[in-house]
């Protein structure tokens, strides 16, 4: 049943996302073409416009992905379509898991398309050198490659967005337990949940900093962090965000499994 649910969920979300994916790739190709033509003022201007559109498409992909997932969650579980969803012979755990898995899948593909668009539009030897020079010290400390460092950053961004998505889902479930103003309460609870996860993150970093002087500088000074501290921050971010996502997932699942009250 999970496979079937996922099929319909993904189909619905990708129906919109695919448009933005195509536009993003299309404009990144145009950016590449126009910016590679030298000695033409007009073509260069067009290239810069295309570059701007590519960047806006990249933001559109992220915004549409997140909003689309929240909207699908609400429509399926609390709006008219919920009359079908909740009467399907499927347990609540599977229904909820399908939403989380479709979030992971679509978010991963969006990040992939964004990376592809950026690569198509801006890849050049000079830009590559710039990134290399920026990340080389970090890669040396990690005893790793620049690619792994880039992937780690992307992974942290992915976890952060997942954290935001799950906070939104918690908000929707809590908001719809109210008898009135459900949407307003959903937004409010979602925001509060997200805020709590951020406070929790800072709290864990602070507790860790009690045992690490360099990390404590993050709270008391404006000094640039040394490379070892950045390394620790990256590890911490990965662990805390993963923990946040799991806590939100299981808390929300428990609330959702208690039953719904559909209007």
């Amino acid at each position: 049943m999970l496979k079937k649910l996922l099929k319909y969920d993904l189909e619905k979300i990708y129906k919109v996302l695919i448009v933005f994916y195509s536009l993003s790739i299309f404009f990144s190709i145009l950016t590449r073409i126009f910016l590679s033509i030298e000695n033409s003022f007009i073509l260069n201007i067009i290239g810069k416009v295309c570059s701007g559109v590519t960047i806006s498409m990249i933001f559109n992909i992220l915004i549409n992905n997140v909003m689309g997932l929240w909207s699908r969650f609400r429509n399926n579980f609390y709006a008219d379509e919920s009359y079908l969803t909740h009467t399907l012979p499927i347990d609540k755990k599977t229904l909820y898991l399908s939403k989380t898995l479709s979030s992971i899948i679509t978010l991963s593909s969006s990040i992939l398309v964004i990376a592809m668009s950026l690569f198509i539009a801006y890849y050049s030897k000079e830009n590559l050198e710039l990134v290399k020079n920026l990340l080389l010290p970090l890669a040396t400390v990690y005893d790793s490659t620049i690619i792994v460092i880039i992937l780690s950053f992307i992974f942290i961004c992915f976890l952060e967005i997942m954290n935001m998505l799950e906070s939104g889902y918690v908000g929707l479930v809590l908001g719809h337990r109210k008898n009135s103003n459900k949407i307003a309460f959903s937004v409010l609870y979602g925001f509060i949940t997200y805020l709590l996860t951020q406070i929790f993150t800072i709290l864990v970093v602070f507790v860790t900093a009690l045992f690490n002087k360099d990390l404590m500088n993050l709270f008391y000074t404006m000094d640039t962090l040394n490379i070892d501290t950045i390394k620790l921050c990256i590890y911490l971010a990965m662990i805390i965000y993963t923990l946040n996502i799991f806590i939100l997932y299981f808390t929300n699942l428990k609330l959702f499994s208690k039953g719904v009250n559909v209007d």
């Binding site: 079937k4 009359y83 009467t87 399907l88 208690k258 719904v260 559909v262």
Partner: protein
């Protein structure tokens, strides 16, 4: 074992009591009318049976089991609103029902839709509300369920369509199954009802066989209803 049983069922929204002390037993092989004025708790009761609401107190048993995956396999429910994804074509919705309900007969659905001259390749969003309601009824009645729950199936449709709907209901369920029809359009359905449940202000005020009630009161169910619920 009763097909459906509600035990001390209660639903509150804050301080407002919508349903109170509902005790109900629905046997197999009956067509039951759930009758009451607007806003008396009919839809709330139906939503509780279908897991769309969580009871404040009491429980609902279907085939002796609490509402859940197993009960949803044997209940075919028609809500009072259009609830399908309107971006889907009728064919796609048929596929959806086929995917999720083991007891859904897609050939029967296609046959019934053909009778209605409905194009299965048409999107639901391109259909009128009445057409969408017919598609929903066909889908619900194309399941080989034990219990059909139809919430206001006649609401907002013309008399000719009402006859079609009643005919579809009558000819598409087996003798071991039961049908609960919630409506306030009693004169249209009373000829097909075996039993009636009158509900008012969140309480069941009368449960009876239609023949016995007609005999006792010497009038039609519609007249009895009008008398009981006179404003």
């Amino acid at each position: 074992m009763e097909l459906l049983e509600c035990i001390n069922l209660e639903k509150r929204y804050g301080d407002k009591v919508v349903l109170k002390d509902i005790n109900l037993k629905i046997p197999r092989g009956k067509i039951i009318g759930l009758l009451g004025k607007n806003g008396t708790g009919k839809t709330t009761l139906i939503k509780l049976i279908n897991d769309l609401l969580t009871p404040t107190k009491g429980k609902v048993l279907v085939n002796g089991m609490e509402v859940g995956v197993e009960s949803k396999k044997i209940i075919s429910y028609l809500p009072e609103r259009t609830y399908l994804d309107k971006s889907m074509t009728v064919e796609k919705v048929i596929k959806y029902f086929e995917d999720f309900y083991d007891n859904f007969d897609s050939n029967k659905a296609r046959k019934l839709l053909k009778k209605l001259d409905l194009d299965t390749n048409q999107k639901l969003s391109k259909m009128s509300k009445g057409m969408q309601e017919k598609v929903q009824l066909v889908l619900v009645m194309s399941r080989c369920a034990d219990l059909y729950i139809l919430d206001e199936p006649l609401g907002g449709v013309d008399p000719a369509t009402r006859d079609y709907i009643l005919d579809t209901i009558l000819t598409n369920f087996n003798e071991n199954a039961s049908v609960i029809i919630s409506t306030h359009l009693i004169s249209d359905i009373e000829k097909i009802l075996d039993e009636v449940i009158f509900i008012d202000k969140g309480k069941i005020i009368l449960t009876s066989s239609t023949d016995e009630l007609r005999e006792k009161e010497k009038s039609s169910i519609d007249e009895i209803f009008r008398r009981m619920f006179k404003c």
